[in-house]
Symmetry: C2
Subunit: 598 residues, 2 copies
């Protein structure tokens, strides 16, 4: 069975030495999260993940979920008990509003905890993950009485949540959706239609399931401007808030999937189910986006999470498996062969994963902190800048960290040779599970379009200009520091490529939008490399400063950071030039074939 | 259920217009394979693949193989009947020696047919595929009476073959193997030990299974120099050649795998089983390499094959699925939305796969032809040069086309969005099946080491110098041809990068072998891009010549070739520079961490 140890020390390094956690102690929520409290919470979360979630990961994959003839769904053996422990320990409400029973801690901390839980059991972590998204939508767009009715239950976890967007003919293009909402006399609506791919749509973990459903009110405009968001609970709440009569929504079938078998992915049938409008009529998409942005960052975390556990296991195997001898002469003459970690090509795979994971973790926490600042900072300028960063980086984190997460899981599997292909070792599950993160919550091609087609131009390019300025200033600041030069030189080169690509888009995409579409995925990955490289620059600098000050027990941890930073610059940053070359080639050869010619 | 139509026209274009098929008509075997015979055979093979193999692909994956308590194994429903049809039609003996009942046609043709069969059902095509490898080993290294006894049955297909290398503690490093061979009085050996990951190790398709087994004769030297190859049939042949008594070899269990569920991957237990030495004692590795080289090209074909069927289905879906509108304005205003094939990012994925597939097919057939020349050409210089090419390109084809095959299957799956993740559409099976090709027959890291550590230096670098000369001469020849310039310019740039990387290796890897290991995978992929780019150069040139001569009905086929060639140069060739940059960074940051620091 795969092993897992939560990367607590690495997370603390990011929080304390990169984010300067203590500097934000004056913000609401942060005052309770002193460094020692944070350390205790992370340690506890890591143990919980390893002790409670991890043992159910492989068995949950093998068993999957079951739907009975009556439409009820049971989760794999052990999930109910583990979920009860999860609720009891209060993990679901870590960063939720204290008004609704949450602990009000920073979202940044919740993001770190979410990584640990997703590493140890991604399919399981999705149940509370979707609930968090539903909570966010109700919190931001619900009426006070909706908040009062639903949020305490959902924050507690006794009720869970879902997002219902997709229909058989309608995924990315929500304008096509057909689910209907007919007003009832009492102000509620009767919802009818079919939704597919609904994660956690039906299960046995909670006493009620709160579906957030996109539907079209009778007579609403066509397209996305006629879509509204509804709360449709599985059981209609009684006056006292207890679950009452069964609502007209049910699970028609479970999807047979490639992975995340522990999560029940449902076809949900709405047959005149009672629903209540959330926010304004026909403005459902805006509310859904609140939920989706939350979810997209969470999916980026999943990419990192699978990559991390896959890495840890590949390392353990590479240390243990004896095969061949080191090229430069045997390292372990006393053994029948050397452990494969001596081989450069095995190192290449391990170092690549490591270099992405550590920077990915920093980027997620850095971005999550900006998310906290966007809501909690006093200065409106700070809030605006933080919100800009969040908007700009959300598609990058989702798209790039899930693409890399999958590639890394595949690489970690490769370290095992044939043993990676058989189920027993658990590596092929990581590959199957990681794959969905590239697809759901907006396929990665959609993230790239969101970045290039929307986020770049917002507010006259304010966010991207601020990003350029921030990264450029960092390079400039350390230009004359010889120890930093290997890092800032590569980073500056990457930044230049990104700026050139941005210029190219400004010049070529206006009159020919296909040039933007043709560039989008490469642009997103180019952006991702620069953002990750920026994190490596910051981490290298922090490591150097601490080493110079005398780091004691942390010395090798910090020296390893410098090695990994160097590896990132040597081996990953060169890709920025290839991205720029592809982007600059434009859409011509991509679009020239007739659709029938394929 | 996935669709499939064998790419017969594309294969004929390569054979006739790139390889100049008719020019080789004087070679043994080729004289019977006139262009019209070739066309008829390919057409028939394509129909057979689509009609007989394809319908069992998804069902075979779902059902898998079953092992009974007595160790017998049954293949999925329909496999027995389909295999009988396969035998009856004589597909297994297409290029086998007529002395043993084969049709003696060129291996090049067999490679093309193998692509079609592997596309339509890779797990199934492995049964005859492994038999072909075993035939090759016996043909090259077996004694005359072994050939007479086994080959006619194996060519017919009534007996099948396997390769038994791997043991639980021993994969890449065959020197560690423990399976023992004790001489019997009659000249045979008693073989004992356990082999794992044995594809087609036990099944119900054939009346006998001929295991080729690596084992160590009692008292043999340690390491790879003490390994011998044995024939160990499941049933001991009687005097008259009919299968007689059961031998002491049995299937201990079936591996639970990520994919290729239709193929029985067995743990094989040898318990004093009777075996006969093939070739010389302690020279088993050489014989096994004959088999493995055959198999490695076959695995490269699998990479292409899965990529091709995945592409065809992604194209069908992209034409059919309505979602969103073209960026430059709706193309199908009469429909609720445009088919997603209008979107540049969908095109990017489809064109990438296409550009790799068409060049990959050309490279495989080009290399297979050199394989035929190596055996059949009269001029020893021609044979030598052809053999050099084969040796050099085998690891590239295996490593690069299976890495690309997997990436392409993933990309094709991505075109489907969420529908790609559910089993129903069959796309996730292609991903799971394609994955093994990167691992077996020498994991791709081993292919890269074979290329960099062995093939480059052989005969003073004769093969690589000939490759540089051939590709360089092609660029030079068309340098002043304006229509060819876009292609030769990119190709020349790629070739320069490859030559620089080779120089770098020569300068830096001698005194520090880790620099070779650290460069190997990047070098293999750099090589692959240049080899594929060279194929695109040749295809573009052939297309231009034919268009200039008036191509009639073929006009759009040829124009599409030019577009795809352009796309390859725009979008795939830029990667060569990134590979070179990574290679040139050396092994330092890759190897610096202590093994305990990971």
């Amino acid at each position: 069975m795969p092993v897992y140890q939560a990367p607590v020390a690495d997370t603390l390094f990011v929080l304390n030495d990169i984010l300067g956690w203590e500097r934000h102690g004056n913000l609401p929520g942060f005052s309770d999260a002193t460094p020692d409290v944070v350390e205790a919470i992370l340690g506890e979360a890591g143990r919980f993940a390893a002790d409670v979630f991890l043992p159910l990961n492989q068995s949950g994959d093998l068993e999957g979920c079951h739907r009975a003839a009556d439409g009820s769904v049971t989760t794999p053996k052990g999930f109910r008990e583990a979920y009860a422990q999860f609720r009891e320990a209060g993990w679901g409400g870590l960063s939720a509003d204290p008004e609704f029973g949450g602990q009000g801690l920073p979202h940044t901390l919740a993001a770190a905890v979410n990584e640990f839980l997703s590493s140890s059991n991604m399919a399981f972590a999705m149940y509370p993950g979707l609930t968090r998204g539903a909570i966010a939508a109700i919190e931001h767009h619900g009426a006070p009485e909706q908040k009062a009715l639903y949020l305490p239950k959902m924050v507690d976890g006794i009720w869970t949540g879902t997002m219902n967007l997709t229909e058989p003919h309608c995924g990315t293009d929500l304008g096509l959706l057909r689910t209907r909402a007919v007003p009832n006399a009492d102000g509620s609506f009767a919802i009818s239609g079919q939704k597919i791919f609904i994660s956690a749509g039906e299960h046995d973990l909670s006493e009620n399931i709160v579906h957030l459903v996109l539907a079209r009110i009778e007579g609403a405009p066509e397209g996305v401007k006629g879509i509204s968001l509804f709360i449709v609970p599985k059981f209609l709440p009684e006056e006292d808030g207890r679950p009452g009569a069964r609502n007209g929504v049910s699970c028609g079938s479970l999807e047979e999937k490639m992975g995340i078998h522990g999560n029940a992915t449902c076809v949900m049938n709405y047959d005149g189910a009672t629903g209540w409008l959330v926010g304004e009529a026909h403005k459902g998409l805006r509310a859904m986006f609140t939920m989706m942005n939350e979810a997209r960052l969470g999916v980026g975390v999943q990419g990192l999470a699978i990559s991390e556990i896959a890495y840890q296991n590949a390392v353990a195997y590479a240390r243990d498996r004896l095969q061949g001898r080191a090229l430069a002469g045997s390292k372990h003459g006393e053994k029948a062969a050397d452990p494969i970690i001596v081989h450069p090509d095995v190192r290449r795979m391990l170092m690549t994963i490591r270099a992405v994971n550590e920077a990915g973790r920093a980027l997620i926490l850095w971005t999550a902190l900006r998310g906290d600042l966007a809501h909690r900072a006093e200065d409106p300028k700070v809030r605006e800048a933080a919100d800009d960063w969040m908007g700009l980086l959300t598609p990058v984190i989702k798209g790039v960290l899930t693409d890399k997460g999958f590639e890394n899981a595949v690489m970690a599997q490769q370290v095992y040779g044939g043993h990676g292909y058989v189920r027993e070792w658990g590596m092929e599950q990581f590959v199957r599970d990681a794959r969905i993160a590239q697809i759901y919550e907006g396929a990665n091609g959609i993230q790239a379009l969101d970045l290039v087609g929307r986020k770049l131009a917002l507010n006259g390019g304010r966010a991207i200009q601020a990003f350029f300025k921030e990264v450029g200033a960092f390079c400039e600041e350390h230009r004359s520091n010889e120890a930093m030069a290997p890092f800032t030189k590569s980073l500056k080169k990457g930044l230049n490529d990104l700026q050139s690509a941005t210029m190219w888009l400004m010049t070529n995409a206006m009159q020919k939008p296909d040039n933007a579409g043709a560039a989008s995925t490469d642009y997103m990955h180019l952006f991702g490399l620069v953002a990750l490289g920026y994190m490596w620059g910051r981490m290298a600098h922090a490591a150097q400063e601490k080493l110079a000050a005398g780091a004691g027990d942390d010395t090798s941890f910090l020296e390893n950071k410098l090695v990994t930073a160097r590896f990132f610059m040597d081996r990953l940053m060169p890709e920025t030039a290839a991205h720029l070359a592809r982007i600059s080639s434009g859409a011509d050869s991509m679009m020239a074939l007739d659709a029938d010619a394929f």
